[in-house]
Symmetry: C2
Subunit: 699 residues, 2 copies
């Protein structure tokens, strides 16, 4: 069910302030005062039951008394009056309301009940509501300040949304001293209606917004967020800071996959898959935004560092490597050009070191010589006594005007470099006081450009065998908890091979199975035993039916002696796996927010200790699967390290893709894990499987 | 050979400026101008061959013409004149010189030769020299500015040394806008004599210095640096930024250990072991310094976050967990006290949320209620329209005056919070604009306090069997390259067990060996084969002499067929290792700077891929060995995860200690690696060993 658009919030021309106080130090009074002081050119109507004139403006006692049409209402009334006010909005055909009033979910059981009632009523109404319990909404270019925070930020191209009002007031205050301007500045409060997902979707369409920035504490609906963010990221860069990294959602998990793929990792995966980027700190959020505003996208991972001090250059190089950037020299031809214009002891590699006493002319000559190198630039300056920072800034501007890639500046110092900072920032070149911050911001911008460039088309479904799927699914659902034997047909329906195995309830059946399977391993099967090795419940490499019968009989006796209380289902007889495999984990778990996730990683017994995993929302394409593998610390081993052959990455990525379809398409699948998944130089095979399905089928 | 002290550089009373120009825009002229402008109360003597009066001061044509005694000379003459000038210093019994002149190692082959000559001459002279090619030396409290950078930083308690002059000029300029003051500000240039190690040692003794800060690009002598830093860290906090993290020293390595323990990791280990802390960015260096200056050391890892905005609180909590800090609530008693003074919807856990409209009185009441909680405090404020930031600052100061732990403030915003920032910083409380920076700085300070608190006493030597050691060493040295068979006696002399093994040159000898060893594994031995499994060169679990003879014969035939060119030495017959071990790596490699290192980590075939290792300088005490194990990602597995029993950490740490003594005490040992070291619930044993010794014995 699609809700009405947020358009009225972006282009309102007539606004009512409900609860407009005559006292501008009160919340309702300050909203009116701010709106007027901001210079809003549209109509402003105070609504006040007791005064006919409020802050010099003619007021009306109720929304219902306003004769003309209104686009928006700002609501700053006591919490119990909010719902009646919104009902008046609907009666007056007002399309949007910003509810600043507190006293809802954040305020004890009574507030919770009030908010629940509000949400119930809102469903299906032709009214969009921002809030309640928010700072409000600002559209600086339209001079629309619908908040109780005085002073508007500069208009600009950053569309900013926040789940924290306090953060908004801090950023507003901070932004006045910094070169940032906003197309939208929105505090979303309790999100009874308009959520971060709605605002991201609106900003994607908004022509004034060039970069979308968000501070989030969670998402209302994981899949909807993922879709909206993906659509937005296809149009403009999106940078998100999500707080609550360490707080994991409560979730009953029985698999490694579930323990590894916390909700925060699911958010991470969604952001990455959508083609957006996530930062870790508030400072980074704006550091990255300033790289993106000029619209100069990195064409690759190379960065050229130009400096007049070796120390700054080394720090930038360290930071660049940490950020996944490449610091390689220009072509020999370009370096020859550099040598022609630089002093003898200058360095023409990367960093390019212009030496401490570099003049504006030297900066200009070097940057002109580097014109043919498409790398991103980080131009740095450490001031000496005679340094002309403003002159160097002008030289940088003139010599980099035609570059298409990012240009960042690091002017390390204080008063001596300030004239340069001002000149550069006025011209839209982001300046940073320290090399590491600039380089980290460039790293994020580069990662973002890379992700936006290679967003994969939706994965085509692999061939699934419907005749095999239906019975496999029915039997799996009946079992509830899956093991290798119930899981294998389900995997087979999606074309994923398991190492063949049979359940033998008697030693004779084990002999029969060994006849069919060749050299085999025997493993005890019991609902009461999880560490089979400890009770002598595993025997490897048994050759021939007779040996298998004896080994099975001995095992049943041995285990029964070690664990007299355990119920013994039988012995799993499994073909011996070929040697030479890497052991991976491939799993899925259903996240409460984001639905089924796919996790791949280092398998075997160290999986949770090493946590070497990559996570995505299911399904994943083959290309995404290969990306996931590339993120693992063990990636070099998969590509063949220390003389071992590489694994069959095609087969592995194909299996991941198929598994992700299974995860996405199987109703009721709570978790499913292949561990280990054996990855060979040729082919892959599941050696063990465990999983869990809901008993009732989901619709 | 001990060099004279740096005392003259810290308390000079008479200074000559050699090369003092009449033109203060030239280097030699600016040094004189800066020294005079700085208000140096001692005597200043310009030395100028051509002018009798320089910048209004009576000059002498040569140092030899100065009648009175001098403490220091600043040398700013052309490079070829530096050595003769220093010779005059010696003739005049001047104890120290700061050589600003460039034209040495940094300036091509001619400069390199000049510096080599300077170093040769300096050896054994009674003169200490800072530089050449440095910005100079500043002692603000003594008004001693011996640099060509105008303007002195504020006097204070930070002793700062730097390997980069450009960084110094940037920091000087930056520091004027920030609340930092210096006891010493030293640019060390090419370090022909005075090195970072000398300055650290001098600052350790300097009563004006409370915190030692360094920007380093390397160290002159690793072990001397380690000793000096350890002695300094025992007296005051030391924080270092080392650039060149990613540049690994060129070193021929054949072991995993060598590849894993790069020079930068050795530096890391030295800093940690010495009880100092290393930061990654320039900003962090000063962020941490400001936590340390007040001298309030963290008593543990707990931090209490007090905020008036939830968003800031969550960001601080995330950052705290990343920094290894604990964010747990106060005692129930203290929380009851908080509840008594805070509004109903305030949060009294951790973070403590005072709600957006918090007043100075509310901050004061909350902080007074928390007086009994010894945790470090991060007090945060997001400004609202009516916020009285200065009043809140005063409340924070008065309510935290008696705390012994660190107090940090985060005033997020700009103009609205500035009065609070000024009040807090004037009183010595460090302020940060963003929560993450404050918390990270606190994290470093906490790590530092922890390291300083538990610096281990020198490890007592384990009992070594000298009768076994001498022949083992002689035979190992003769072999040059060590394997299990040559390495085992060496390890045994230090009390480290190996899994018993014998070399069998014939199938009959293999039978003999199996008779002695029980169930065995057979492994081909050939100087030409490194991946034994690939050629069928490994057979496990062979029972009895007859089976061993047959298996050895088959193996020799099989391998010869697979690799007809390979020389086959024989078959290694090794007792089957007990199952149930974790496979670790324990290695040593000799670092060019720091001497023998010890590395422990995840072993087996993934060692270089997972890089889960901890590194220290050898030797390590048992306590240090346990610390190393605690740093591994696999630490939870060693402590017993997922139902597996814990390994014998006592035996493991003891083996590490013994191994580290072997590493430290064995002359000529280039590298030695046990991989895997099998760590069991009871005991440890080396399954395979490889190593390399220099052929000539070192003295």
């Amino acid at each position: 069910m699609s809700r009405p658009s947020l358009e009225p919030f972006l282009s309102a021309r007539a606004v009512a302030v409900v609860g407009a106080s005559t006292d501008p130090s009160k919340v309702g009074g300050s909203v009116l005062a701010n709106l007027v002081a901001g210079g809003f050119p549209g109509r402003v109507v105070p609504v006040n039951a007791r005064h006919a004139i409020v802050q010099g403006l003619r007021a009306v006692p109720s929304l219902l008394d306003v004769p003309e049409p209104l686009d928006l209402a700002v609501v700053a009334v006591p919490a119990p009056d909010v719902l009646p006010t919104l009902q008046q909005c609907v009666a007056r055909a007002i399309a949007g309301a910003v509810v600043i009033s507190a006293g809802f979910r954040e305020a004890g059981p009574e507030g919770k009940a009030r908010e629940a009632e509000l949400r119930r009523w809102l469903r299906g109404q032709p009214l969009r509501v921002v809030g309640p319990n928010c700072l409000g909404w600002m559209r600086p270019a339209a001079r629309l300040n619908l908040t109780f925070a005085p002073g508007m930020p500069r208009p600009g191209t950053l569309g900013f949304l926040s789940h924290s009002g306090a953060l908004c007031t801090a950023i507003l205050d901070w932004s006045r001293d910094h070169p940032v301007g906003f197309s939208l500045f929105a505090s979303l409060g309790n999100q009874a209606d308009v959520s971060e997902t709605d605002v991201i979707a609106a900003l994607a369409e908004d022509s004034e917004t060039r970069v979308i920035l968000g501070y989030l504490e969670g998402v209302a609906d994981g899949r909807a967020f993922f879709e909206a963010l993906g659509a937005a990221a296809a149009r403009k860069p999106c940078v998100l800071l999500k707080a609550g990294r360490s707080a994991e959602g409560a979730r009953a998990v029985s698999s490694h996959t579930g323990a590894l793929a916390g909700s925060d990792r699911a958010f991470d995966a969604a952001v990455r898959q959508a083609g957006a980027v996530r930062v870790d700190t508030l400072e980074e959020l704006f550091d990255v935004a300033r790289v993106l505003v000029p619209g100069r996208a990195p064409a690759g991972r190379r960065v050229l560092v130009i400096t007049n001090g070796g120390g700054l250059g080394i720090l930038a190089t360290d930071a660049a490597r940490d950020a996944g950037l490449e610091v390689t020299p220009s072509s020999e031809e370009i370096r020859a050009g550099l040598r022609a214009v630089l002093p003898r002891h200058a360095a023409t590699g990367n960093p390019v070191d212009l030496i401490g006493d570099a003049t504006p002319a030297r900066y200009r000559a070097a940057l002109e010589a580097l014109a043919g190198d498409p790398a991103a630039l980080v131009v740095m300056l450490a001031p000496q006594a005679a340094t002309d920072a403003a002159g160097i800034a002008r030289a940088v501007l003139s010599a980099t005007r035609d570059r298409t890639g990012p240009v960042l500046a690091v002017l390390a110092g204080g008063a001596r470099v300030r004239p340069g900072v001002v000149a550069l920032e006025d011209a839209g070149i982001p300046c940073y006081p320290f090399p590491e911050r600039a380089v980290r911001a460039l790293g994020h911008a580069t990662r973002l450009a890379d992700r936006r460039g290679r967003r994969a088309p939706p994965a085509p479904a692999p061939p699934v065998d419907p005749a095999a799927l239906a019975p496999a699914l029915a039997s799996a659902r009946a079992a509830g908890t899956l093991g290798l034997l119930d899981g294998a047909p389900l995997l087979a329906a999606y074309g994923i091979a398991t190492v063949p195995a049979l359940l033998a309830k008697t030693p004779e059946a084990a002999a029969e199975a060994a006849r069919a399977l060749g050299r085999v391993a025997l493993k005890i099967v019991s609902p009461d035993i999880s560490h089979k090795t400890d009770v002598g419940g595993v025997v490897l490499d048994v050759a021939g039916p007779a040996a298998a019968r004896d080994a099975a009989a001995e095992m049943l006796t041995r285990v029964a002696a070690a664990r007299p209380q355990a119920r013994l289902t039988g012995v799993l007889v499994q073909a011996m796996a070929r040697p030479g495999a890497h052991e991976l984990l491939l799993g899925t778990v259903r996240d409460a927010q984001f639905g089924p996730l796919v996790v791949v990683g280092f398998g075997g017994i160290y999986v949770e200790v090493l946590k070497d995993t990559a996570t995505r929302l299911a399904p994943v394409s083959i290309a995404e699967a290969r990306e996931m593998l590339g993120e693992l610390r063990m990636a070099p081993a998969l590509r063949g390290a220390r003389g071992r052959p590489p694994v069959d990455l095609d087969a592995l990525a194909d299996a991941m893709h198929r598994f992700s379809r299974l995860a996405a398409e199987t109703p009721g699948l709570v978790e499913l894990e292949i561990n280990p998944l054996l990855a060979y130089p040729t082919g892959v095979a599941a050696l063990d499987v465990r999983g869990r399905l809901d008993h009732e089928e989901e619709s």
